[in-house]
C-alpha cells in the first residue's frame, strides 16, 4: 500500500469520526448545553444540530419537560407540639437550561432539600388542626417560598402538594373520640330540646283549653243572669198589669181565681193513685173564706138584678 493509500485510509476514519462528533440530534423535550473548551457557549434545541467537532463538546443534557420529585416523608413538630409525618410531591420545569445546568449542582437534590426545610418552617408555625384543614394554604405558601428560592436556578416550581399528613396513632384515636363525644353531645342536646318543645306545646294546649272553658262558663253565666233579669222583668210587668186590673175592678175577683186554682189542685191530689190520704191544707178555712167571697159576689149580682 502506498503512503497516499495509508493517508486516505486515515482520512476516511477521521472523516467518519468528524461526522459522528459534529452531528447531534436532540430529542423533543430535551436541551443540550454546548461547551467550547469547557466553557458554556450555547444551548442545542430539539432537532438535528451540528456542532464544531473537536473544540465543541456537549456539556449537560437537560430534560425540559415538567418533572415530578417525591419529597420523602419527614417528621414535623407543629406549633402545639404534635409530631406528624409529612410527605409530598414537587412539580418543576426547567425554563432556563444553562442556569439549571451551571448555577446549581445536583438540581434534584437541591430542590428536595429546599422543599423539606420549607415544609418544616411552614408547618411548624401552624397548629395541628390548621395543618389538617388548610392544606391549600400550606401548598400556596410553600410554592411561593420555594419558587422564589429556585428562580436563580432557572427552574419554575409549578406545584407543591402535601400528600400525606399522618399524626401519631394515639392522637388519631383521641381525635376520633373527641369527634364521637362531640356528636353525642349534639344528639343529647337535640333530644332535650325536643322534649322541652313538646312539653311547652302540651302545656300551651292545656292552657288554651282551660281559657276557652272558663270563657264558655262566663258567657253562659252572663246569659243566665240576663234570662233571670228578663224573667223578673216580665213577672214585674205581669204583677203590675194584674194589680192595675184589680185596682180598676172588684177585689173579690181575686178570690174567684184563687178558689178555682185551689179546687183544681185538690182534684189533682185526689186523682194521684199512689196515695189515698188526702191532705187538706191547714188553712182550709181560708179556702172556705174564699168561697164566702164568692157568695158575696153572688149576692151583689142578685141585688143588682132585683133592682
Amino acid at each position: 500500500m502506498t503512503g497516499f493509500g495509508i493517508f486516505v485510509t486515515a482520512l476516511l476514519i477521521f472523516a467518519v469520526l468528524m461526522v459522528i462528533m459534529s452531528v447531534k440530534s436532540v430529542p423533543q423535550g430535551m436541551e443540550y448545553t454546548v461547551e467550547r473548551f469547557g466553557r458554556y457557549t450555547g444551548t442545542l434545541t430539539p432537532g438535528l444540530n451540528i456542532i464544531v467537532p473537536i473544540i465543541d463538546r456537549i456539556g449537560r443534557k437537560l430534560n425540559v419537560m415538567e418533572q415530578v420529585l417525591d419529597v420523602p416523608s419527614q417528621e414535623v413538630i407543629t406549633k402545639d407540639n404534635a409530631m406528624v409525618r409529612v410527605d409530598g410531591v414537587v412539580f418543576y420545569q426547567i425554563m432556563d437550561s444553562p442556569k439549571a445546568a451551571y448555577e446549581v449542582n445536583n438540581l434534584d437534590h437541591a430542590i428536595v432539600n429546599l422543599v423539606m426545610t420549607n415544609i418544616r418552617t411552614v408547618m411548624g408555625s401552624m397548629d395541628l388542626d390548621e395543618l389538617l384543614s388548610r392544606r391549600d394554604d400550606i401548598n400556596a405558601k410553600l410554592l411561593s417560598v420555594v419558587d422564589d428560592a429556585t428562580t436563580p436556578w432557572g427552574i419554575k416550581v409549578t406545584r407543591i402538594e402535601i400528600k400525606d399528613i399522618e399524626p401519631p396513632r394515639d392522637l388519631v384515636e383521641s381525635m376520633a373520640r373527641q369527634m364521637k363525644a362531640e356528636r353525642e353531645k349534639r344528639a343529647a342536646i337535640l333530644e332535650a330540646e325536643g322534649h322541652k318543645q313538646a312539653e311547652i306545646l302540651r302545656a300551651d294546649g292545656e292552657k288554651q283549653a282551660a281559657i276557652l272553658d272558663a270563657e264558655g262558663r262566663r258567657e253562659s253565666a252572663f246569659r243566665d243572669a240576663e234570662a233571670r233579669e228578663r224573667l223578673a222583668e216580665a213577672e214585674a210587668r205581669a204583677t203590675t198589669m194584674v194589680s192595675e186590673a184589680i185596682a180598676k175592678g172588684d177585689i173579690q175577683a181575686i178570690n174567684y181565681f184563687v178558689a178555682q186554682k185551689y179546687v183544681e189542685s185538690l182534684k189533682e191530689v185526689a186523682a194521684a193513685d199512689n196515695s189515698k190520704v188526702v191532705l187538706m191544707p191547714l188553712e182550709a178555712s181560708s179556702v172556705i173564706g174564699a168561697l164566702g167571697g164568692i157568695t158575696e159576689l153572688a149576692k151583689e149580682a142578685m141585688a143588682k138584678r132585683e133592682k
Binding site: 493509500g5 486516505v8 461526522v19 430539539p46 438535528l48 425554563m95 419554575k156
Partner: protein, 147 residues
C-alpha cells in the same frame, strides 16, 4: 486491493447498507456517509478511470461536506413545526394580559397565571393593575402596563 475491480455499483450498495444501518440505529451518523457513497458512485459512473485512493478521498470529504451543506441549508430554511411553543412554557404566555397580585416595586412584582405565580419585572405599578407580558427571560416575565 488491485485485484478487486471497483465499479460504481459497489458505492451504491454501500450507500444503501449505510442507509439501512441508519434506519436500524438512528443517530443521524450514517446518513451523511450514505449520501457521500451515492455521490462517489455517480462520480465513478461518469469517470470510470478514477483511482481507488481518489474514490476514498472523495468519499471522506463528501461525508463531512454533506453535513456542512445540510447545516447551511437548515440555516436558511428552518424546520417547521405545528407546536412551536412545545416545552417553552414561558413563551406561551407572551402577549397575554394578567392582573398583578403583587405590586411592581423597584421593578419586581408578581402575577398569577393558571394556578402558579410568576415573577415579573417592568415599570412600577400598583397591585391589581393590568399588565401585558411582552417577553420571557428565564423564569421572569417582562411586562408592560396597559390601561
Amino acid at each position: 486491493m488491485a485485484e478487486i475491480e471497483l465499479i460504481f455499483w459497489y458505492w451504491w450498495v454501500l450507500a444503501l447498507v449505510l442507509l439501512g444501518i441508519e434506519i436500524l440505529a438512528p443517530g443521524f451518523f450514517f446518513l451523511w456517509m450514505a449520501i457521500a457513497g451515492l455521490i462517489t458512485g455517480i462520480v465513478l459512473f461518469l469517470v470510470p478511470s478514477t483511482g481507488f485512493e481518489i474514490q476514498l478521498l472523495i468519499f471522506s470529504v463528501l461525508s463531512f461536506a454533506s453535513v456542512v451543506v445540510w447545516r447551511r441549508y437548515v440555516g436558511k430554511h428552518p424546520e417547521q413545526t405545528d407546536h412551536p411553543l412545545l416545552n417553552k412554557r414561558g413563551a406561551q404566555y407572551v402577549g397575554r394580559t394578567f392582573t398583578l397580585i403583587e405590586a411592581i416595586e423597584n421593578g419586581q412584582g408578581k402575577i398569577k397565571t393558571g394556578d402558579s405565580i410568576w415573577k415579573v419585572y417592568g415599570e412600577d405599578c400598583p397591585q391589581g393593575a393590568k399588565v401585558k407580558v411582552t417577553a420571557v427571560e428565564g423564569t421572569v416575565f417582562k411586562v408592560e402596563k396597559i390601561d
